[in-house]
């Protein structure tokens, strides 16, 4: 009862904040600038900002109208510089997915190895310590030079930035498995492989999924920057391209979409985390 009313009140406050934000935005971007008299040819070049006193910053109504346009035609394709927002975001998601799953395939087995073997832990630690703090974008020139494909380079950057949180969390989760549980497996003469899958994996799964959640967040942050660099397709490229077109409306729409997709990705991992956590 109280819980429900709390949720209700929170929702109400959220709506109020949203309305206040939109209202302030609308007021701030209303046409209030001075209208200058000028040659009609020149006025045409200058656009509505100069001729009608309209703010250069689009208002919420402009953005809403544009959003509606995008939502109605998300997947149109009019050549390299004019693709639907849906297509662009699909490119980005695909790159993130490929890089991310490759990173899972590499990070989790290596993390297991590090977590299970104190020798490997010590031996690999210096590499991880040095490689981890490198900004993923710093790899970009190297990737472009060696891979010679901009799309693949973006995937590589996603791979490299997703790798570390998953690897470190897996190693930590595996090495922190409670000794009693391992002893249960030992007294039952469970072999190494079966022990890894029946005791260590379920025990470490919450920590591993936490690492995966951190990774997907970073990957989604990095893909936008990576695509701005490599160009061609993707939501990052779209943002940069629309900036060059001076279409702030489209930029704002893209920002909105980036946030929404990031939230969905995070929620998927949050749900996965709930599936693998166990109450003690």
């Amino acid at each position: 009862m109280t819980r429900r009313s709390l949720n209700l009140r929170a929702a109400l406050v959220s709506v109020l904040i949203f309305a206040a934000f939109i209202g302030a935005w609308h007021l701030a971007t209303r046409g209030i600038g001075a209208v200058q008299q000028m040659d009609p040819e020149y006025a045409k070049l200058m656009g509505a900002t100069a001729t009608q006193g309209k703010s250069a910053m689009p208002g919420p109504l402009d953005v809403g109208a544009k959003l509606w346009e995008h939502l109605r035609r998300p997947f149109y394709d009019n050549g390299p510089n004019d693709k639907g927002l849906g297509i662009q975001i699909a490119y980005s998601i695909a790159r993130v997915a490929i890089g991310y799953f490759l990173a899972i395939a590499v990070a989790i087995p290596i993390g297991f190895m590090i977590g299970m073997s104190p020798l490997m832990n010590k031996a690999l630690d210096p590499f991880i310590q040095v490689l981890k703090p490198i900004s993923p974008l710093a790899w970009m020139p190297l990737a472009l030079y060696t891979i010679k494909d901009s799309g693949l380079s973006a995937i590589f950057v996603i791979f490299i930035c997703s790798l570390w949180p998953m690897m470190i969390n897996t190693a930590f989760g595996v090495s922190a498995v409670r000794k009693e549980w391992l002893n249960v497996a030992r007294t039952l003469e469970v072999g190494t492989l079966r022990r890894a899958f029946t005791v260590i994996l379920p025990a470490a799964a919450p920590t591993i999924v936490t690492g995966m959640r951190i990774s997907i967040g970073i990957a989604w942050l990095v893909i936008v920057a990576a695509e701005m660099l490599v160009g061609g397709t993707g939501i990052g490229y779209f943002v940069w391209n629309e900036w060059n077109n001076l279409s702030i409306t489209n930029v704002i729409n893209a920002i909105l979409l980036i946030g929404l997709v990031g939230m969905v990705l995070d929620q998927i991992l949050a749900r996965a985390a709930r599936l693998v956590t166990f109450p003690e």
């Binding site: 009693e180 002893n183 007294t187 039952l188 003469e189 005791v199």
Partner: protein, 299 residues
């Protein structure tokens, strides 16, 4: 000692310590017969869990060996089931899942139905029928402990090793589980090694009670042979004429002698731990503690 099943042969455990090593215990010798229920009593930290872990094969002694069935043990075995000091159930598995995990580890070729049937049999045995699909977090302390017992029994081990299995339970649950363990052990002829802090529990359950002195450098001071009849029942065990003789002997050891036993018993031979039967044999002459204490002061 017709059927010596297990023997500790001069085991020691040492840990590195600042400025040398600490010896938790050394030169422990103990033999257990098949079908016998042995309890170990000693103060906290004297090394009981360490001895049990060595018996289980989970820990290696610094010296000495453990012989089971005429073979030196090399690590854990399905023949020796352990009930741990904490219940140590796998929290992501249900009651059935926990027991079935043990069953399928022992009989790897069994199909799912066979595994379930065997697990169910032992879940029923400890009185958890109907809770098969609960997870450990949904169980009470006593129920968790029962799952641990069912898991240990389900693999039909040759020996059970129990580390304070009932110490976290309330008196009522503890009594019920003691009854069950006693019944099960008698029915199956289990050889059992159990650690406890509870003197009454030891007298009720054990055939022999091993008294350990305080560490570091703990020794097995005495083996108390339980003079009470096998047919004892918990309700009127305290009415048995020998009950208080046994009880007082053990408590006297824990309170008075466990700390100073080593100094007070020069020439103690750890290979020949004295067997006492309080109330039956003539009471062992208590060493003149005043004299010894004065003597040790003189050092």
């Amino acid at each position: 000692m017709a059927d010596k099943f297990i023997s500790l042969e001069g085991i020691a455990k040492r840990y590195p310590a600042p400025g040398g090593t600490t010896t938790i215990f050394e030169n422990l010798w103990l033999a257990m017969n098949r079908g016998e229920f042995t309890c170990v009593i000693g103060h906290s930290g004297c090394g009981k869990t360490t001895v049990l872990n060595i018996l289980a094969g989970l820990d290696q002694p610094s010296e000495g060996t453990v012989i089971v069935d005429n073979l030196a043990i090399e690590g854990p075995s399905l023949d020796r089931a352990v009930i741990f000091q904490g219940h140590s159930l796998l929290p992501w598995r249900t009651v059935m899942g926990n027991v079935a995990y043990a069953v399928s580890s022992k009989w790897r070729r069994w199909n799912a139905a066979q595994v379930r049937a065997q697990a169910q049999k032992f879940i029923d045995l400890v009185g958890l029928t109907g809770s098969e699909h609960k997870r450990p977090s949904e169980l009470s302390g006593g129920m968790k402990q029962r799952v641990g017992i069912a898991r240990a029994l389900s693999i039909q081990p040759k020996m059970m090793l129990m580390d304070e299995p009932f110490s976290a339970l309330d008196a009522l649950t503890r009594g019920t589980l003691q009854d069950e363990v006693r019944r099960i052990c008698q029915e199956t002829g289990q050889t059992t090694f159990m650690i406890t802090h509870d003197v009454d529990e030891a007298i009720y359950l054990a055939d022999r009670i091993v008294l350990m002195t305080n560490g570091p450098g703990a020794v097995m001071a005495e083996v108390v042979e339980n003079p009470l009849p096998k047919s004892r029942v918990r309700i009127d065990i305290h009415k048995h004429p020998l009950y208080y003789a046994v009880r007082n002997h053990i408590i006297d050891f824990l309170v008075m002698r466990s700390r100073t036993f080593v100094e007070q018993t020069p020439g103690f031979d750890p290979r020949k731990v004295p067997v006492v039967r309080p109330g039956v044999d003539a009471p062992p002459m208590p060493p003149d503690s005043t004299v010894v204490r004065l003597a040790s002061h003189a050092h």
